[in-house]
Structures are given as structure tokens and as C-alpha cells.
Symmetry: D2
Amino acid sequence: MRKVCVVVTARPSWAKLEPVCRALQARADVELQIVACASALLERYGRVVDVIAAQGYPIAEQVYSVYEGATLETSARETGALCTALAGTFARLRPDVVLVMADRHEVLGAAQAAAYSHLLLAHCQGGERSGSVDDKVRDSITALADLHFPCTEGAGFRVYSLTGAWDRIQVTGCPSIDVAREAHGEPPVTAEELGGAGVPIDLSRPFGVVLQHPVTSEADEAEAQMGATLHAADESGLPCVVFWPGQDAGAEGVSKAIRVCQTQPGERFHTVRNLPPHRFLRFLTHASVLVGNSSAGIRESSYLGVPVIDIGSRQQGRERASNVVWCPHDAGRIAAAMARQIAHGRYPSSPLYGTGDAGPKIAEVLAHVRLGVDSRSVRV
Amino acid sequence: MRKVCVVVTARPSWAKLEPVCRALQARADVELQIVACASALLERYGRVVDVIAAQGYPIAEQVYSVYEGATLETSARETGALCTALAGTFARLRPDVVLVMADRHEVLGAAQAAAYSHLLLAHCQGGERSGSVDDKVRDSITALADLHFPCTEGAGFRVYSLTGAWDRIQVTGCPSIDVAREAHGEPPVTAEELGGAGVPIDLSRPFGVVLQHPVTSEADEAEAQMGATLHAADESGLPCVVFWPGQDAGAEGVSKAIRVCQTQPGERFHTVRNLPPHRFLRFLTHASVLVGNSSAGIRESSYLGVPVIDIGSRQQGRERASNVVWCPHDAGRIAAAMARQIAHGRYPSSPLYGTGDAGPKIAEVLAHVRLGVDSRSVRV
Amino acid sequence: MRKVCVVVTARPSWAKLEPVCRALQARADVELQIVACASALLERYGRVVDVIAAQGYPIAEQVYSVYEGATLETSARETGALCTALAGTFARLRPDVVLVMADRHEVLGAAQAAAYSHLLLAHCQGGERSGSVDDKVRDSITALADLHFPCTEGAGFRVYSLTGAWDRIQVTGCPSIDVAREAHGEPPVTAEELGGAGVPIDLSRPFGVVLQHPVTSEADEAEAQMGATLHAADESGLPCVVFWPGQDAGAEGVSKAIRVCQTQPGERFHTVRNLPPHRFLRFLTHASVLVGNSSAGIRESSYLGVPVIDIGSRQQGRERASNVVWCPHDAGRIAAAMARQIAHGRYPSSPLYGTGDAGPKIAEVLAHVRLGVDSRSVRV
Amino acid sequence: MRKVCVVVTARPSWAKLEPVCRALQARADVELQIVACASALLERYGRVVDVIAAQGYPIAEQVYSVYEGATLETSARETGALCTALAGTFARLRPDVVLVMADRHEVLGAAQAAAYSHLLLAHCQGGERSGSVDDKVRDSITALADLHFPCTEGAGFRVYSLTGAWDRIQVTGCPSIDVAREAHGEPPVTAEELGGAGVPIDLSRPFGVVLQHPVTSEADEAEAQMGATLHAADESGLPCVVFWPGQDAGAEGVSKAIRVCQTQPGERFHTVRNLPPHRFLRFLTHASVLVGNSSAGIRESSYLGVPVIDIGSRQQGRERASNVVWCPHDAGRIAAAMARQIAHGRYPSSPLYGTGDAGPKIAEVLAHVRLGVDSRSVRV
């Protein structure tokens, strides 16, 4: 039986790999091997490996590779460490195909370990542009991979430019849209499922969502940037759910801006720490508007048709559907854009990032593609 | 003063990096930092780091990263180990630019360490095609690099396809041609300088050269392949200098084929273990024909105009000038090709792989290119 | 109201343009202008302009541009003549968008007339490979066009390489698949609808189809090539419907081979001159196997799942689904391939050349794309 | 003997084709056939065909193809007319190779006539970017051509993207640089050779040159744009030679701005109608600064090292060497840039657009490239 090894290096990647793993798991002709590594094993990132196991997936190996202290140097060290360790893992597990996701620095280590071990390497989310060193890492992984599952046609074109091998590319859409499609059809999130603190929110009436992460290279401005967004959100008159930021540099500034609001008289924000991906999308699909710089505004929201204000540079370069309006960090312009988006209402679902069947499509190719390095195609 | 760090990972790369290092060393506006690592430090590969030091170059750091036992797994481990270690090296040396060469697996580790450390990364010999996993590794390094010095226009075109950034590519030719140009103008090698064993050879009269390495993936056929070549060489009537092979899988078979010849009556081969690059080219430039599968037949010989028979699959995919005739491993066809090439005589020098000024050209760009990741061009 | 001008230059193009015209005609926001020219007006090619008018489409202009005597020179003259004449037509009709199809030489003339008149130019079937000067003409039209509707993802990748403009490319599939989808769901063709001569055929039982055109550059071998195919078809034991060839050089040889068979004792061929596209596909979808070198074997049959033997060089370079087996002009190999394909039976429908909704997709983009030369995208 | 047909369609193209024709004419292995057509035959464009004949070149045919009245429609008609007529010319002359230059609309007609006649087609100046429909026409010609002689490496990369055929591309530099190299070594132009009117100018002392054409799409602003340039030139204190514009839409405005200056007290301009290319470059090479929007500021000046102010949008997209400073149409900024450029003085010669040997290089390839459509390379 064909063995497919899926490498999970971080919590956000799992949300995108899960639909693929589910489809692989459902097949009789494939044995799924999940290797969890890097921050997927760490408590302070929520140990997604435990979530994976709790969902009933088998964990073939766990590989620790994160160094204490996040610096430029440690990301290089971690990549090296992961490459070194996975070389041993692959020698033990002997998979036929290895699947990796996206562009985090350590993923290149996994890709190298697979390529040097002469294993068939498949890659999701290649060919996108987002600026910064991520573009280089992503393209570098594409250069090592044999099979490519880009999310958009534009990304597929770029993968073609990089590889020249059109028959090894299948534009499948992003697996995150599979989750969005599922969530779309389910009952709305209840107040209990939402949890959180601050002003209570009535989810049966129109509400907005604020989800804004710090931009690493603009960490010093994070507080002012979040301040402008919250100011505009407040002005909109719409009750809003505000999410606390992740852990990147600048997170403290974002949090501070939220706390400042909470102490002001008349503020109308409900705050939430975090929701599991599926529940988050069930929640998001009913929002009147999403404000901030989350990738969910670009990807999942395009499918869900949620009106979005994308603020600042974080998602720059990403392809976007017509539901997204861009704004700089300027409270006045954000407020004006919110007014327009609220007035516009829901957009038609866009197929830009997929139609919700990426997982089964990818699983189908991985199950049937000819092994051997020279003669294979993703086409049926 | 601008600091340029050159990473040397193996003996053959040094032959190509030396002209660049010489040109950098000669500049008042550059501080050269040589980091020697991987097999460049190992006795059984001739410890080229000692050669470098003896030539008067400063060795900034030595980094051990080779694992005992050459398997698919160890090459992945070594790349990881080198990436990890060089991250520390770069943090200590703080270079402005890092230069790497070609496509050996561990070079990708060096490239990653530089890219993740947000250093300006320059790469020589990108964009070539040679089949095998080397193509992937080479393209992957190109994806990480900021500045590209491909050897041929064809390779430059491919780098452009990969990167889309024409103003960061300068087709400089291969630095190995710098050595060839130098060697071209110097007095012929004497019998003493040549050394070796077997039938004595008169270098003032026409002679042939046989230089054939085993092909890793065809190791079992190595002896028969070398047998065919030597049979044809013998039949040519031309006295020949035969080089012993390197250490790759199959080397034993090649060596055995040579030894079998040595014991035959009337054989006319002189055998040589190895020559330093410069001396080798002074020797090669006077040969009537070069037979085998060495890269010198494709690169340096194109500049020198030496007639070449390229045999088998090892150099497949490489661009070649008109001095090269390809043959399969068939004694009859090799003999016929040798007769034609000997009758043809010397070819005009081809600029395909350069005109002998790659070192100064590369040094000039590295000294003057604007630092900072976003706005720079290799053009003056 | 937006005016879309569709240029029809030949009978076979109309079969592909019709689904687009139907979708355009059905829209309230578009005025359709059909310009019929070149061989679409000529009696000896069946004057498809009369068919178009009989189907209820408005003919805006008719432009004669075919020279008597088909030589290399006349195809150049015709292109020039069509370009010249259409410049006037466009000045009169003032369309907002011009749509052209495929790669016939005169289509480049139409494309030029549109581009020089600064009209928005849309092109179907760009990016394919078929060898010969057609590739050049097709790419040259792509270079002039603003909007691209390639049929396959592979063709889309190539259009991207040519233009670099991913947001002006939409892979819609081939409109010919729209016809195939429609035909697929309709009742089988009756003997009356089929018509023809020779041995009567029972369409309710398994039958094969032979459809083989002469290859212009191999005109001298046309008779022998058709002989081999008919010999194999005869040997298969399957009753076969054989179509007479088109009018290209070599057609006489193909016809002669058919007539020779007709005079032989025990032959089992029914012969047919021609069927309208829709009826042909209703007929084809029930065939046990299609033998020959028609593009219908590559395109429509991939959707219909009909087993195909593609013979010789005519369709070389075309992307093909798994329903196609290739054979050289060798009776023995054709017979063996037929046996395998008949045993295999119907294939699953492949989406390679589209899913049958190209017409409406193209019409939608043409109706909504922003006019003006600089800022437009085919994406919603 | 191999027949090479060079198609000359306009006066400016001849300046670039002449170095190639001279090199072809000098060869014993080539028969040169010059076909003069389009505006090359017209009195009001200076009938360059007479110049060609006076230089001793044989004119094989003259083909009239220009319609009276320059509109969008006539450029389409002219292209068609030229294609039609040249199909006959090529049938008569039977050349082995056809060479065309650059991107004027009618050149595509010539390219088509050659491609459809299955002649080997060579193209100079492909792959450049200049905005407007010229880019489409240029790329369309590239798609039809078999051999490509782009002027810069960047243009070569783009031709590669378009064609994927690296061995049919040779970056030769622009033949206009051959003329510049020649002119560079010759004695300065005398006042008699310069001619002209207005304030007398002493060519032995520092002087500036103003050469500004109207931009067709900004014809209404031509007078104001020229006014700003002349104002800045006046302010520089440097005596200037001002050239009258060509005949494009807006020329009247440019001329008016010059005449206004001539009537002002204290003006310091000398005006010149036109100089033959070679004499113009002998003149230009001694200028302290060139101001305006002529292509000579981008191409020939880069080789000559003349400081240049490039104004406005006309040369936008062109690659430029470090001798060029760009300015908008703003008298103050132009004056400031002139001051900086005059202070800077001459630049080192840049090889960006070539090193002055394009003609012989192109002739060499045309003389030796293998004929036949499938197997040929521009490399030796």
C-alpha cells in the first residue's frame, strides 16, 4: 500500500493539512503517516500534535527542532536541525510520497530531507507572492518539489515559470476553503461557543470582526496601527468582536491598544482569545465585515463572501477577490471603507482560492500519481 | 569596508572560486572572508583548505559538517548541519555579502543560512541543466539568491525564468575559464611536472588525454564503459595520458579497467593520479584530443579549442561548443570519433563559457552592488 | 450597450464559436456582431455563413479575402487582405471587444486589424502546441491579444509565459466541449440522420469510427497511411463507419484507399461524407472506438470518454487524456491497439479540455471586463 | 550562395540596418538583397531608398504600401498591404533568410510574409519594453521569428520567456552602437557640417543639445512640454543646439515653442533641422549634456558616455545606463538635473546596448546558421 507522509510543522498549517489528511485517511489505497515537528510540539504554541491525535490521526513520529530564543540565527539552525532529523525519519518510515505545506522557514528543511532522500515531494501553496524572505523560501521549496498544488491560477502560473513542468502542477484551490465550505453550511456559533470577555455581543444581529496581527518589520508601530483600526471600528456603530493577536514581535503593542479601549467609557468591543479553525469560520461567515490583516480575510472570506477591509502591508501581493477593500493605517479611511462595505453587504462566493474540494483532489493525485522520478503527471 | 564572505565546500569548487577570491583580495574596498567547510577540510579529499591557506588567503572559519558514511541520509544530514553551523558563523563574521558556488547538496545549506540571516546572497553557476537531483538543488539555491552570475547566456535565461529579475543577473562566464586563459599563455607542462607512471610519454609530440569518471547511477557498468574508451584510445595510435578516476561509486571498476590495460602487451598508456587545476589546464591545452566525460571537456576545453569526445550520460544537458562530439559507450564509435577529431585539429576558442574575466567581473559587482534587500542591480 | 464582434473565418471555427455566440446572444447587456470572412463565405467549403444566418444569428459584415490557388504565397496575401479589409470593418462597426479563435493564418490578420485599431482583443485556444508554423501564428496572435481563454491548464501556463499577465488569462476549457456535453445527453443518431453509403450499419450494436485526414507534409503517403488504418479496422471485426477526408493536399490518396476497400469482397465499411458538429458528437458518443487523427479524438472524445487510437503525427504535441492511445502508421500495431481499446471500453469523462461551460464563461468575461487598455482582469 | 534579404521600412531603421548590411556586403559567402518599402520610399520622409542606393547598396525591390492619411485604420491597412506585396517579392527573390528590424506596425506584415513563406526569419531589437501597442507588435514579431538578436541582456531574457528557445537568441547589442563607435573616433563636426540657424555656436567650447519629440498620446501638451525644457536649457547658461522635431502628431506645438524662444531677447539657441545618423553621433559625442526624449539619449549616449536628461514618458520602460537621469516636464527639476549632469561630466562608456560590433556578429550568424526550420542554433 502506498505510504504518504504528511509533515506538520505548525498549528496554522494543520488547519490546511487536515482536509487533505482526512481525504487520505478515508482511502483504502493509502497509508497515512503524520510527522509532527517544530512548533507543532510546543506547549506555548498550543501543541497541535495533541489536537491531531485527538482527532484520531496516527502520529508516526515527533521531531523536536525549535531552538530557544527566536532570532535570525535560530531560524537557520532550526531548518538545519529539522532537515537533519527528518533524513533519519524518512529512512525509518520509507514513505512513497512526502507532502509539505506553504513557506515557513523550517519547511524548506523538510523539503530538502525529502528531495535528497529521492522521495517524491509534493507541495501545497506554492507560487504565491507575499513579499519578504518568505517568497524566496517558498520558491526554493517549489524548486525541490515534484508535484505542485497551488491555490490559485495565478500562483499556478508562477509555479510553471519556476519549473517549466506543467504536467506536475494541479491548481486544486486551498484546502482551507474545504473547511470554509463545511462551516458555511452549519448552524451559527452560539455565545457559549464564542466565549470571550468585554461587552456581551448578540450574534443574532449584525456584528463586525477585528483581527489584526502585528507586522514583524513594523513592530514599533503595532500599537498605533491597532489604535487606528479600533477607532474606526468604534465609529462604525457596529458591535464588534476583537481577537487578541498571535505571538509575533509587536503583539504586546496590539494587546495594549485593545486594553486601552476596554477602559474607555462607552466602548462596544467583545474580546476573544482564539477559536479552533472550523468554529472560527462558522463564526466568520455571519459577520457583516472583517477588519484587519488576517489571511482569513483574503482566503476564506473570498469563498464565504464576507466583506473585508484589508489594512496595511501584511497581505500585500496576495491575489484578492472583489470582496476585499484595501486601506492604509488611517482611522478615517478605515471608517469610510467600513461604511461602504457594510452598505454593500455580502458578496457572491468567489472561486479564486478554491471551491472546497482541494483535500480530495490532492489525495486523489497522491494516491494515483506514478512513482519514480521521471515519468509522472498530475493529470488523469 | 565591505565584507564579502566566500563559502568553500569542496576541492573542485575552489578551483572556480579562486579567480574570484584573487580579484576580491586585490581590491582595496573589500575585506575577504573565506569560510572552509564540508569536504574542503577532509584529508581524504586532499584538504583544500591547506592549499587555500598556502596560497596566502585568510581562512576566517573552518566548519566541519561531513558525516561518516555516504548515504542518501547523510547528504541531508550534512546540509542541515552546515546550515545550522553557518548560521552561527555568519552571526560572528557579519559579512555584507555571501558568495556560494554551484550545486553540491551542502551548498543549499549555506544558501539557507545566508538567506535566513537576511544577508545578500550571490550565486555562481546557476541555471545550468545536468539531470538528477543536482538540478533541483541548483534551482533551489537560485531561488534563495539575490545576485546571479551564470556562466552561459542559456543558463542566464533559465535563471531569469526562475527569478524574473533580469537586473540581478549578470552572465559573467565561468571563473574556471579565467584559469584556462592564464594557463593558455604559459609554457607547456614538462614530463617532471606531469609525473605519473606507465609508458613514458613525449609531450612535445601529439598526445591524447583520457579522463573518465564513473556515473553514480551506472556504477555497475563503470568497468565496461572505461574498457570501451581505452580500447578506442589504443586503436587511435595516439600515445595517451590516462587519469585515475575520483572517489565516486564505480571508481573501482574504472581503475580495474585501467589496470587490465597496463598488463597487456604493447599498451601505450601513461597514467597520472591528479594535477592541480592550473597545471592540468597547461597540460590539456596541448592535447590533440580529450576523451571521456569530464566537465573540463565541456567548459575549459571550449575556450582552449581542444577537440573533445564526450562519452555517455554524465555531461548530458550541458551546453557545448562545436569542439565537442558526443558518443555512446561503444568502442567502435568512440574510435571513429577520435579519428575525426584528430584529423580536424584544434578549434577556434569559443566564448560559450566565458572569456576569462569572470573573477574581476564578479568582484566588481560584489564590491559595488547596493546593499539592502530591495533596490539593487548588477548593471553599471 | 457593449458591442462584441466575433470574427468567423472558417467552418470548423464556427463549431467552436457557436457556443460563445449563443451565450452572448442570450445576454441583455451585449450586442453581438458576427463578421464572416475568408473560407466561411466560400461555396466549396460549405458557406458556413449561411448556416450561421439560418441559426438566427445576425451577420454584421461579409469580407471576401481568399485568393484562388492555395500556395504559401496566397496564405500571406490572404492574411494581408483580411487585415486591410477588417480595418475598415472595425472602423464601421466600432465594437468594444473583438473575439478571434485558434491559429489559422488569416486569424493573425484579424488580430492585427483589431490591435492596431486599439480595440480590446480576446483570443480562444491560445497556448497550445501542434508543431509547424501554426505554433508561431498562434503565439503571435497571443502576443497581440489582451484577454486569453485557453482550453487547458497547460495551454494557460504557456500563455502566461508569453504574456506574463496572469490576470488576463482565464482557462475556460474549449467551447467545443460545450457541444459535446449537450450532445452527450441526447438520443443516439438514427440511421437516417447518419446517411451515407456502403455496407449498412446497425447503430444499436457496437461500432467503430474511422476519421483520418491527410497530413499536408506527408501527402504522398496518405493512401498507404489510410490503407494501414482500414486494414486494421477490418481486422478488428467491428463494423465501422468511415468518413471521407477534408480537402487538404493528400485527400485524394485517402479517398482512393477507401474506394479500394469498397471494391473488396467481404468489406464491412459504411461510408459517410460529413455530419454537422452537433449530430457528429451525438453519433461519436456511442462509438466503441475512434480511429484516425482527428482533433475530435483528442478534444471532444476526452470529455465523452470514447476510446481513441490516435495515429501518426497530425495531433502530435497536443495534450491528451487517458482515453487516447497513440500508434504509428502500422496496421499490426493499430489492430493491437484497437483490440485493447475495445476490451477496455468507455473511459471516465476527463475535464482536460473543459467541462462544457466555456461559452457562458467567456461571454460573462466579455460582458463585464473593464474596457480601456490598462486596467482590467478576467477575474471576478 | 546564401541569399539574405533585408527589409527596410523607414529612415530610422536604416540607420540601424546599415552596419548589418555593410557586414553582409563585405562577405563573399552572402548575397545581399535589400527590399525598400513603406515610408522608405516616400519623399516626405526623405526617401531613404535613395540614400541606400547612393551608398552603393543594391535595391532588389521597392514596394509601395503607405496609404494617404495616417489613422488607426491606415496602419492596419498598410500592414496588410505590405504582407500581401512581400509575399510576392519573396516568391520572386527566393531568399534563404529574411531580416527585419524593431517594432513599427508594418514590420509585422513583413514578418508574416516571411513566416508564411516558410523562410528563416531573423529579428533585431526584440524583447524591449516601451509601453503602448508597440510592445504587442514587437512581441508578435518575436513569436514569428526564428532567430533573435536582442540589444540588451534584459531584452534577451524577455525573448527567452516568449520563445523558450535559448539557442536561437544571441544578444549582439544594437547595431546603432556600431555607428556610435565609429563616430566616436572621428574628428568633431564643424560648424559647416552642422549648418542650421539662430545664434551661432562655437563647437570647440562646451555646448548642450536639445532633442525632444512630441508624444503622440500627449500631443496637446507638446508646446508646454517643450517650453519647460527650453526654459531650463536657457537657465543652464550653456549654449545649446536645438533640433526641430519629427512629423508625429504634436510636432507643430514643439516647433511653436522653439519659435517663441527665437523671438525673445537674449536667447542663446542655435537650431538645426536634421543631421545624417553618422554625423549626428560625431556631433553628439562632444556634447556636455543631451536634454529631451530621443532614443539616442538612451542607446547611443550610453555607449558614448554623454550625460543625459530623459524627460517625460516617451522612453519609459527602456533599460538605461547610469548616464541617464529622468525628469518630469518641470522646468525647475530639469534645470537642477542639467546642473548636476554638467557638473558630473562624461560617464564611462556602458556596454548596456552593445560594444559596437553588432553588425559583424549578426552577419556572421546569418551567414552560418543552418537553414531548415528545425535544427539550428545561433551559437558557434
